[in-house]
Structure formats: structure tokens, C-alpha cells
Symmetry: C2
Amino acid sequence: MDARSPSSSRQSPWLPFESRRRARDEKREAVLRTAVQLFLEQGYHRTTLNDVADRLNITKPALYNYFGGKDEILFECWAIGNERVDDCINEIAAGGGTGLAKLRKLIVSYAEVMTTDYGKSLVRFDVRDLTEHNRRVVNTAKRKIDRAFRDYIAEGIADGTIKPCDPKLSAFAIAGSLNWIGHWFQPGGPMTAEAIAEEFAIRLTAGIATTSTRKKADKPPGKIKTSREDRDEHHARTAPRAAGQSKRTRDRLR
Amino acid sequence: MDARSPSSSRQSPWLPFESRRRARDEKREAVLRTAVQLFLEQGYHRTTLNDVADRLNITKPALYNYFGGKDEILFECWAIGNERVDDCINEIAAGGGTGLAKLRKLIVSYAEVMTTDYGKSLVRFDVRDLTEHNRRVVNTAKRKIDRAFRDYIAEGIADGTIKPCDPKLSAFAIAGSLNWIGHWFQPGGPMTAEAIAEEFAIRLTAGIATTSTRKKADKPPGKIKTSREDRDEHHARTAPRAAGQSKRTRDRLR
DNA sequence: ACTATTTATTACCTATGGGTAATATATGTG
DNA sequence: CACATATATTACCCATAGGTAATAAATAGT
């Protein structure tokens, strides 16, 4: 759709040196999309802002129209991934179900997020590259996720769907398996993200569930999420910024 | 033992600027011990060679008497951790037992290594910081570890101690949980490394073992390792170098 | 004690890359 | 069309940190 310019290279809204329109947010997102790819490919420290700019057909200083610095770009990438996980947690919390059912939903959602670029950000990026402030934001968010796992396990133990166990340790074990997905998963492999997510939901709870195994009381007719329409990329978010905005240049604009 | 010098600061063989003797290898190891600590504390890229040297009461160029460069230090740290895991794998391979028993032994050993500094190196350091050559060495070693997990699972399925499942995916799930230990474990917590290792060995196999749960046919009287005498630090290794030796200065010496 | 070798130190060099200033080019508005 | 605004570009700056050269201080051997 939208066959406009003579140049054919997709992916960058800045066509080699011609028509440049499109909204600001769309460009912001293009920067993040490119940045997260490069950060994952080469690692944050080995990726220069010139690398990012080059791949977008612009120059380094242009990036500063959208971000205050390299670390802020890193933070925003992380923020998108976190937002996705956070949405899942909130949806699960809103819906009902047993502790085990909620835990499985969380595993499925979290596993799927882990197979996306922004999801990988959550486990492949180093918090210590962020500013003091953003680091705190990240740590708070991580605690929330950890809390969700532990709470659902505790709920499951309380309602009898999960065998008595140490919620903390079990949460670590489960989260570890899921986080690891962010390190090995590559689209195009033998299994789809959804298949892996489903499989993990069963496997990771097989040891602690009271109801022996395989599909049971989870998935009540009105399914909660699972489908996920906006596959990867794009995410709207025009207003909900305001979180990052670290140090440096930020006053001279606006 | 060995109350010699007036200065009391332990940890560094280079006492503030006085008696300097001791063998070369002991100093080499002191460098690695300090480096791995700093790399874990601050991250590889945020740690400068001056940081390492300072903590040892020496200056940066002195490090080059023992290592060819920063990345070589990183590699050696990794190598020590890998050596420990490799020893475990070889011992397990030498001993007998069912597939499940071997898998559990591997989980226990691997988990324990993951709680040490050098063990953490295996999962916290980025392979891309190494030279092409060393990167290949690391990748080969990682494949061997992955192989061990998969093979024992496959053996277990064959001998009936493990339920039919996809060895690859199960290995990823288990390894993920274990690798995650390297990210959250801190000595001094409520659980000891050994307790965590034992717990994980049970938990991570509970879902796939055929023999319902809890201790069973594992641990045949003649126990294999588990005790581990040389707790942390030190590791002898005087000869078995020769692996690293990347690019740069290496000719001018010797 | 004299010499050779090892192992430090001081003083540099230099590439890299994040960030900035000054300026140009679109874009859109009255 | 002129003017304001947003958004690029070119040309810099400069701190950092890995690495090296020249040299001094230990240590060992004879």
C-alpha cells in the first residue's frame, strides 16, 4: 500500500533525499525500530548513533530532534517492551480465573513478547546503561513483573490449583526459562512464537500444577488475549511519553 | 595462614608498594579474580583497565605483562567458568546412571557453578566482545553444554525415566532457568547455593520425570561430585593456557 | 657484586564516538 | 511571498580509554 516514491527501499520514512513528510511520531518510532534491531544485532555499546542514523538515511544529529541521547533511545526501546508486558499483566489481573490459569496466561503472554525485538530488550539490555532515574523506573517495572509471577503462584497454592512450593524460587525458575527465550529465539525457526508460548505454559507448570497435566480448566470461553492483532512494530503511543527525557538537550527545543 | 607483611589488605598479591614476590600464575589469577568481579559489578564496557589495575594496587600497563588485552582477560574469565562446567559434564559422562539421574546431576552442578563469579561469566558476558577466534571457542563450548542437556533428556526418554518430549525445547527451558541464576543469585541470601541447586534439580525435572517426584533412583551410593572441595577462587591451571593469545603485543615478550 | 631478565612505572599516542554549534533546507501559515 | 517553525546537514569539540614506548626498579643467576 502507498506506492509513492520512485525509490523502493522500505523500512525508513526518510527516502534517500527526497519527499520527507509524515508525522513526527512515525519517525520517532522508526528510530526506535532501527535502534532496537541494531542494539540486538551488535549490542548497545558496539552500536553507534551513526550506525542508527545511517540505516535510516539520515545523519547523527538528526536523531537529537527526537531523543535526548543514546541512553534515552535505549530506555524507550525498553519502555515499549515493558508496556506490552504490562498490558498483559493488567488484562490478566482484570480477568478472573484460578491462580494456575492466571499463571499460564502470563506465561503465554510473556513468552510471546519475548519473541519480539522490543520484548528482547527487557532481558538483553543492561540497566546500568541508563540514567539513575530511568534505571529506577526499570527496576520498579521489573519488580512488578516478578510480583505478578509470585502472586499468581501464591494464589494457585491458596486455591489448590498449584502444589505448595516456594513462590519466589518457582517464579525465578519460570521467569528464567522465559527470559532465556529472548536470547535464543529467532523468527523463521521450526516453531512459531505461539507454539513455543503454549508449550512453555504447559511445561513450566507441569511440575507445580495439581491437575496432572494437559489442557484443563484454563482458557474459559471468553479468551483474554492470545490473539494479538498488532503483531510487531507500531504501537500508537503518541501521548504517553513524558517518562524518559534524561539530562542534556531538552530545553533548547520547544 | 601466611601472616607476613605489615600491610593487612588481602585480595591483592601486590602489597601497596613493598615486598613483591610470589609466582606469576598467582598474579595472573589475581588479575582475573579482580577483573571478573568488576565486570560483574559494573559491566565489561564500563570497567576500564585502570579500574582493574587500581584495585590491585598496580598500574594499567602492568596488566599487559599477563594478558594481551582487555578482551583476552574477558575470555580467560569465561574460560575458567567453562572449565568448571566442562569438568562436571565429563565426570557425569564417565559415571553411569539413567538419563534422568544424569540430567539431575548436571542441573545440580551447573546451578552451583552459576552461583560463582566465574560461572556467572558464562551468561553475563557478551560473546561479541571477544575476538573472532575466541568467539568460536566459546560457541563451540556452548554447543557442548547444550548437547549434554539434550542428550541426557533423550537418554531419559529412551530408558523410560523421562516422559516423551522435545529434548531441544526442554533443554532450553531448563538451561534458561539455570542461566537466570547467574543474574539474580547473590551470596548471603536466604538460600545457599547448594540448596538452590538441589531444589532446581527436583523442580526442573518434576514436569518431565516419569517417576512422580521427590528423591528416587538418583544418587547411587558412590556419589559423583556434589561435594566440591575447591570452593571458589584458585584453580591451579599453569600450563593449559595457549587458547587465547589474541592479536596485539605478544611477540615482544619472550 | 655484576649482569640478565622480569616486571613495574611514567608519559604518551590515538581512535572512537557521544554530543553540540552554526547553518541550511523544507514545510506550512497569514 | 515573506516569515516562522520544524527538521535536516556539515563541521566541529573533547573526554574516554585501550594500547604502546621508553625507562626504572626488582629479582635471579653466576
